[in-house]
Subunit: 309 residues, 2 copies
């Protein structure tokens, strides 16, 4: 297996982006990544577009984006892994470079959720679990899914709504310092606590917003990476696992079992001791669609003991 | 790059499959592939679900299918590359095994188009080109796209409607011998010629039907393949390319330029002389969504000279 490095990254501004088409939004991220890597479109041998979609007028965006960004006729595919779609695109691009099939691949993530009215988006995300069992029969939407996790976690470990709000306060603190973030104002625990309930115990500030945005990552083989940059980011390990989409078949609600399996795989590949991963890791970017998701991620990744995140 | 072989394949019966759920339909193919390879679900290290979707009630089918088929907690992703979605899944599974990341991966293709009424399916496929330019502004549906190709080809090379019908006659001849095919009756050129126009010059029998069906392919590393079977099918080369989705930006209507690029890549990898590929190939399975697509494929792949397919 060949070594693979990240040699360029790009991000669009996130938020309500009615000012641009889907292709224009993707290009903001693609251009930034190309510039950072010192590459042109012709150098990209394959591009993977991550898009869950369902809310956009362009339902099959890979080639549409490729055409606008002048990446055609390179090979392409759209990938979707629900909330993990972007990571899945990076993983597949990684496999492609690691295999020796190409030397330089690009993973592009894009969603333009605001192309649909909010009720349609809420319905679509609700269907994204297990439509037949939970959405059709019980009307369970995504805030509802995570509210089940939150109540289970609170019941088991005595966590409070304030504990959840602290996650939102931290994330808004960083958002206020990121010119590309959707929300750029700090909030307080009091502000979060007094926001309206979306699905008890989750309040407005416990929930991620509907958003438009794009990101791009360029991966390169060892040889190419060394040509392109003095500071390649080497990928030391990747893990990928799935859980039941049917909530009622899960063994626990205070953890995502798939995250535990995937973390073990990544740690093994990266030669990280799974009993003390914090020792090896300086920065972690975890999924925070709801505040409870971030707390569960800390524990599933082994950064904190159960109930102590 | 490691050698990769196909060690198991499976197919569902195709057609109107209101008798099964999406998961049950996928399982028909998955089970057949597992049985052929002599494997169990636990042996599959990663599964890729190809699904264009948009017509099904389960919009994110990868995990739903994995759960039903007892493939969870293995890693998974859904991929979409319009009409080439199935091939894209095989290509990504191939990269994953070739890289050494896994030894055994499964590519599963599934569509359940009959979950939506025909006008919705027609609209969705129409949007699958370039929604903004051609569907919204001109109402161009997929039979319309290929009708443009057919008229261009007929005008340039003097092909006739009868020539197109001969493709349909051949395909129905084989369908009549395949117990899993949607249509199992032979037709004549006369029957095709007298069928109603869908988009001139394409008639009913020039067009593929709306269908439900699933297929599965298991790929294995050289070492595993040799353990599993005495007759592995080695993958000698894969090519992948894209074209503009905007028809008005294509350089020609009597060819799919992306197919020419992809064929050259595959021939190079397989060490096939691109000037005479027929010499090396015993069987070809080309895209035949419309009869004209099959004729263009023969020429794009170099099996026949331009206008002689």
């Amino acid at each position: 297996m060949r070594n693979v490095a990240i040699v360029g990254t790009g991000h669009s501004k996130f938020g309500v982006r009615n000012d641009v088409s889907m292709s224009e939004l993707a290009w903001e991220a693609i251009k930034e990544a190309l510039d950072e890597a010192g590459l042109e479109q012709k150098d990209i041998e394959y591009f993977i577009v991550s898009n869950t979609g369902g809310w956009s007028s362009e339902p099959l965006p890979a080639v549409v984006i490729g055409e606008y960004s002048k990446l055609v006729p390179k090979g392409t595919v759209r990938v979707e892994a629900a909330c993990a779609s972007g990571s899945a695109a990076v993983k597949l691009a990684y496999d492609m470079v690691a295999s020796g099939h190409v030397d330089i691949a690009m993973a592009i993530g894009i969603e333009k959720m605001n192309e649909s009215p909010t009720p349609i988006v809420v319905e679509f995300i609700g269907r994204a679990g297990n439509y037949f069992w939970e959405f059709e029969n019980f009307g369970l939407t995504f805030p509802g899914y995570y509210a089940l996790h939150a109540t289970a976690y609170m019941s088991k470990y005595g966590a409070t709504e304030e504990d959840l709000c602290k996650v939102a306060v931290k994330n808004h603190y960083y958002g206020a310092r990121n010119p590309k973030a959707q929300f750029q104002r700090e909030i307080t625990v009091e502000k979060c606590m007094s926001s309206r309930y979306i699905a008890w115990p989750l309040k407005l500030y416990d929930c991620c917003p509907i958003t438009d945005g794009a990101a791009a990552v360029i991966l390169a083989s060892e040889e190419k990476a060394k040509e392109l940059t003095d500071s390649p980011i080497w990928i030391a390990g990747i893990g990928s696992a799935s859980g039941t989409s049917n909530m009622s078949k899960r063994g626990t609600f205070s953890s995502l079992e798939a995250a535990v399996v995937a973390a073990k795989m990544a740690y093994k590949e990266a030669k990280i001791n799974p009993d003390n991963p914090v020792k090896y890791i300086d920065v972690a970017n975890v999924h925070d669609c709801f505040t409870i998701a971030e707390l569960m991620a800390y524990e599933d990744l082994g950064f904190a003991k159960r109930g102590e995140a």
